[in-house]
Amino acid sequence: MASRKKLTRFEKARVIGARALQLSMGAKPQVEASASSDAIDIAILELKENKLPLDVNRIKK
């Protein structure tokens, strides 16, 4: 992980959820994933490898 501050568990869940939805609707995975993994697994993998094209915005009101 880069200089980014560690995500809270809420941020992790939110960002993985959003990415998994994109993937399930046909977005291209940014990581190599095995055929058996589903959208959420891919999203988790992407987050782990810091390849998520999404960011969290903490000051949502």
Binding site: R4, T8, F10, R14, L54, D55, V56, R58, K60, K61
Partner: protein, 397 residues
């Protein structure tokens, strides 16, 4: 080796290690580590390891942003609350002082009652005075309520001559460390028709109508007996107790402002359980501490332990506006900014009607409002927004 208070404790050494480990600890924690290191004679390596472990534990104990701390606090205080004895009137220690404890006391605290059922004070003295029993007894008699009948040797009502004759007991006055002239002065001030012949006093009632004469005389008799000749306002019985090497006074009733002004009273340790009085005399921060302390000691006394942070949150909510507010209709819940939040608590119709008359606007920033309109709530996962990263993926490595 035991570390005595006042012993040298190498705080700096710990501070250095903490800095090296890139941890940020509160001052008190650092001091405690330093103390433990001293006590256990830790080597540098051991201290390193200790700080590392504490850092881990400290991080784990922190709450994350978006955590529902309020709900957790409510549950954590509420659950042990169910195990509290419903009604206990406990006599604190050997002294026969009656103090409300248990659930009724806890309710009293969160309701921020103006008049609590058993106000009580614990008065301590500064170092030079605390061990001096004679001094403490003198002060105790000045604080505690003493009425005239406490120092009388003889009391008689004469219906023939329509007068009351009392005799003051010098020994009792001496025993209570009072001043004879002062008492006489107080009596003269309170009663107009009084004849004083050294220790024998005779009172005469002012009779307006002759047929009420007997009653007037009896009323006067009560008044004479109950004349307060010493004591601080609002304080009743006092109990003197030896705590360790020093003497302390416990009272029934409370008047922090007056007691703190007395000579020799330790202004740091002397306390009252009346939160409103603490607020009035010492300010809102002291009131906050008082709420925390009272709530926690009430729970602890019943053998229940609740993490202080839950109670601190409650205390913070109650005091954050600069005045002590209760939890409930008249305090926090009744003063919420959002109409829907207020309406969902109590008196729904009243709030909605008022809001519609005034044309109030609800910005839907709270939890309840968003539940009512069926939106995700701004808490936990819902408090996080998601945005696309600009172009280059992982570019900010």
């Amino acid at each position: 080796m035991k570390v005595e208070p006042g012993d040298f404790v190498d705080v700096e050494r710990v501070e250095k290690v903490v800095k090296k480990k890139r941890a940020k600890f509160p001052e008190k924690l650092i001091y405690e580590i330093a103390e433990a290191a001293e006590r256990r004679d830790l080597s540098d390596d051991e201290l390193d390891e200790l700080v590392k472990e504490i850092k881990k534990a400290y991080q784990r104990a922190k709450v994350e942003q978006g955590e529902a701390v309020g709900t957790v606090a409510a549950q954590s205080v509420g659950e042990p609350g169910t195990q509290m004895t419903m009604r206990t009137f406990h006599y604190a220690g050997v002294a026969e002082l009656n103090v409300t404890l248990g659930l009724p006391r806890l309710i009293e605290i969160v309701d921020a009652r103006k008049k609590i059922s058993t106000p009580t004070m614990a008065i301590y003295f500064e170092e030079d005075y605390g061990a001096d029993e004679e001094f403490v007894r003198t002060i105790a008699n000045r604080i505690g309520k003493i009425i005239l009948s406490d120092v009388l040797a003889d009391f008689s009502v004469n219906y023939a001559s329509m007068s009351i004759t009392v005799e003051i007991d010098e020994d009792k006055i001496k025993d209570k460390r009072l001043d004879h002239d002062e008492i006489i002065g107080k009596i003269e001030k309170a009663f107009k028709k009084v004849e004083i012949d050294k220790n024998v006093l005779s009172f005469e009632p002012t009779i307006s109508e002759s047929k009420h004469a007997i009653r007037e005389l009896r009323l006067l008799a009560d008044k004479v007996r109950d004349l307060q000749i010493s004591g601080v306002k609002n304080i009743g019985k006092v109990v003197i107790r030896k705590e360790g090497t020093e003497w302390a006074i416990h009272t029934e009733g409370s008047n922090l402002g007056a007691v703190l002004k007395m000579e020799g009273v330790d202004k740091v340790r002397t306390t009252t359980n009346d939160i409103h009085e603490v607020e009035k005399v010492l300010g809102i921060e002291a009131a906050r501490n008082s709420i925390i302390h009272e709530a926690q000691s009430t729970m602890e006394e019943q053998g229940l332990t609740v993490d202080v942070r839950h109670i601190m949150l409650v205390a913070d909510m109650m005091t954050s506006d600069g005045i002590v507010k209760s939890i409930g209709r008249h305090g926090i819940s009744g003063e919420k900014a959002s109409v829907l939040a207020r309406a969902s608590f109590e008196e729904t119709g009243k709030h909605l009607l008022r809001a519609s008359i005034r044309g109030e606007i609800d910005h839907l920033t709270g939890i309840i409002e968003n539940i009512i309109v069926g939106q995700p709530i701004p808490l936990g996962t819902g408090s996080v927004g998601v945005v696309m990263k600009d172009k280059k993926i992982g570019g900010r490595k």
